[in-house]
Amino acid sequence: MNTPVVNSVNVTINGKSLTVPKALSVVQALWLGGYPRIESLGCLEGVCGSCRVLVRRAGSAVVSTELACQLLVEEGLDVSFLPYTDTQPRTYQLGCPISLSSVLETFTQTFPEAAKCRHCGGCDNSCPKGITVESAITLATAGDYQTAGEMFLECVLCELCETACPEFITPAQIGTFSRKVTTLLSRRPSNLIHRIEALAHQQFKVDIDR
């Protein structure tokens, strides 16, 4: 009789069956199992957004999307990596000087799909950071970039929301766009501007041999 090893779990990663110790992340399990995975890995701390995976847990029919470096192994876990696909990136040039009307126009031209959101909730469900993507996109489309951008504070650009969207909206990039234009449309910080002016008037110098 084989005694079950209680400290090990059986998982399936990219279709390969592995028996690995508990308390490992999916990435560590793959390496320990002898698979030299590099693609889709980066910071291993949950902020670079690289290690996107599809996940199904034992006894569940639900498939979720998560970040592999943050996902611990458990009995019956089934994981598949979801590498990025090479989509044509949206590019834009913001006018100089920048104005709200030019930003609104750039937004509509760069992200024409944003207005077609059918509120399916796919983006909300796919976000590993729990961002309420759908309402943020509604706000950005209405021109409230500040509120929309703030909602994307924790966005790691994994772009799972984009993968989930049936209308080909690019929410993560819209989040960055919203944060960017919020800064560009705002007054520059006063303490910084005062110091830069003082430096321009040679009011400060550094004596390196003091």
């Binding site: 590099i38 980066g42 902020v47 590019t91 504070l153 650009l157 960055t176 960017k180 560009l184 110098k205």
Partner: protein, 543 residues
């Protein structure tokens, strides 16, 4: 695994004994110069016996160097001199190697000057240490602060000679770096009057670290990635450099890149090469865990050294005081120093403070190691112990601060089943930063013509101890300087000869030093990934 201690108080006992208290007095705040110097010598990992050895080949022959780095520097190339003849060739004005903040700043600046730029990176654009940086960026912008004080703080924490001119240029450039980032669209935390908020770095005399919650690096990387996307820069993902090329005069003329996707080499000829490859945390010096990303294996130092670039300060590394050690899945993950800047205490298993938490990182790390080695740590396994980062105490003194200023920490801890507002975090130093690196001048030029080194791969600014907020500053400041200088000084003439004949000389030295032929570098990825050049990097085949 680095053994932290084997005689502390068990975690389950210590967590029961822990009580959240708002105020705690540091009983014996001894910070005399002799105390700190003795503390560092006795407990800082740089001083561990047998940590260093002497380099036996190359321009820094006979210099002290961490022995794991010695191994990487004293290794053979993956290429043989003849290999280069059959490679496909691409030409560009400027080749930037590295996709973090330094590489992006260099590439954007050069492209804006009209240069044709290729940015090649080992992982994907932005998968770097920059994206993980939390603390912020130093710049003297408040009344009562000055570039001189910023300069003095760097020198007094460095504990060893630095290139003072580089430091002076860095601190004078700091406000302009912030303005440039804001013009890329980066957000910073502002107060009610529209001033940038600041916090004080450990070891600094003034509050001058600006930040975006504890997501400063993520915010910075998001806007720079977007700027790159909107620029003419040609990005090559999954394309690590495995050798630089030279002409007959020894000038750097390009690099050989390996595509991880199809294991093919490409020779990229460039008028200038900007190395922005970061550090080497994933070498796990002294068996320490690391806060660094997967690709941080010191490639830049290896490549630069082989074509004759001078390096400096190779024996000194930064161990960040607050690497999480519990639960096990979070080992090495870092908690920002911003939390100590905001007033969080460090406590031993008895609930006592043992060091001024705002001392510089080297001193705080050494003090933590001392507590653990002397049995006052909290033990999580046979050979692993740490000290408390007293987040509940901070929350009692400043209610709401954790949610408001440290959302990344809250999210990461929640993922591990801990609410840091009520439970303290267990920490131990983690390998964080390479203090030294390639010798550079004011424009980021290495000692080899045509080769620039910027960011963590360069040396001369931080001495033996870098202050929080000075590396994000350095990568943008020197990234921009190098990008600008390379763009303006690269003559648009014919591309030079791009060969690897420098290896003939270097290999002779290796042979003389009796380095075995099978030792190869750069290593690209840590051993535990099982990666080897030529294998499928998707990990579809078992090794």
């Amino acid at each position: 695994m680095h053994v932290t201690s084997n005689n502390g108080v068990l975690y389950q006992d210590a967590i029961i004994a822990y009580k959240a208290v708002a105020e705690r007095i540091l009983v014996n705040p001894n910070v005399s110069a002799s105390f700190t110097s003795d503390l560092l010598k006795a407990y800082h990992p740089d001083y561990l016996q047998n940590a260093c050895g002497l380099l036996r080949v190359g321009g820094n022959r006979d210099a002290q160097c961490h022995h794991q780095l010695v191994d990487a520097l004293q290794s053979h190339s993956h290429l043989k001199p003849a290999d280069i003849t059959n490679m496909p060739v691409t030409e560009t004005d400027i080749l930037v190697i590295g996709g973090g903040g330094a590489g992006c700043a260099a590439a954007l600046t050069a492209a804006q000057q009209g240069s044709e730029v290729i940015l090649a990176t080992k992982l994907r654009l932005g998968d770097s240490n920059t994206v993980m940086a939390e603390g912020g960026i130093q710049a003297s912008i408040n009344k009562g602060d000055s570039p001189q004080q910023h300069f003095d703080d760097i020198l007094s924490s460095a504990n060893q000679p630095v290139n003072k001119q580089l430091v002076a240029d860095l601190v004078m450039d700091a406000p302009d770096v912030l303005l440039w980032l804001i013009e890329q669209g980066m957000q910073f935390d502002l107060d009610d009057h529209g001033n940038m908020c600041t916090r004080r770095a450990g070891g600094a005399s003034q509050s001058r670290v600006v930040f975006c919650r504890d997501y400063t690096g993520l915010e910075l990387m998001r806007v720079l990635k977007e700027s790159i996307r909107n620029s003419q820069v040609d990005v090559w993902n999954y394309a690590p450099a495995i050798e630089l090329t030279t002409d007959s005069k020894g000038q750097c003329t390009g690099a050989v890149l390996l595509s991880l996707e199809d294991n093919q080499y490409t020779l990229v000829k460039a008028r200038s090469v900007i190395l922005a490859t970061g550090g080497l945390g994933r070498m796990h010096l002294n068996n320490f865990p690391t806060s660094n990303h997967l690709g941080a294996t010191g490639d830049g130092l290896v490549l630069a050294y082989r074509i004759g670039a001078r390096l400096r300060d190779l024996e000194t590394f930064q161990y960040h005081p607050s690497g999480l050690i519990f639960p096990a899945s979070m080992q090495g993950v870092m908690v920002t120093e911003g939390i100590r800047s905001s007033g969080a205490y460090l406590l031993n298993a008895q609930g006592q403070r043992f060091i001024d938490e705002l001392e510089s990182r080297d001193i705080v790390s050494a003090a933590i190691i001392k507590e653990c080695r002397q049995g006052r740590g909290v033990q999580v396994s046979d050979d692993l112990s740490g000290v408390w980062l007293d987040t509940p105490g901070l929350e009692l003194r400043s209610p709401g601060i954790l949610n408001q200023r440290f959302p990344k920490l809250i999210a990461a801890a929640k993922n591990a089943g801990i609410d840091p507002r009520y439970k303290p975090l267990l920490i131990y130093p983690t390998l964080h930063y390479q203090n030294g690196g390639a010798v550079i001048d004011q424009h980021g030029q290495s000692t080899v013509k045509g080769l620039y080194c910027v960011g963590e791969v360069s040396g001369g600014i931080h001495g033996k101890n870098r202050l929080m907020g000075n590396s994000l500053l350095e990568i943008i400041s020197f990234g921009r300087k190098a990008g600008q200088h390379a763009a303006l000084s690269s003559p648009s003439t014919q591309h030079g000869e791009a060969g690897i004949s420098h290896l003939i000389h270097f290999n002779a030295e290796l042979q003389q030093a009796q380095i075995p032929l099978e030792k190869k570098s750069p290593v690209l990825f840590p051993e535990y990934t099982k990666f080897e050049i030529g294998c499928d990097f998707r990990g579809s085949e078992k090794i």
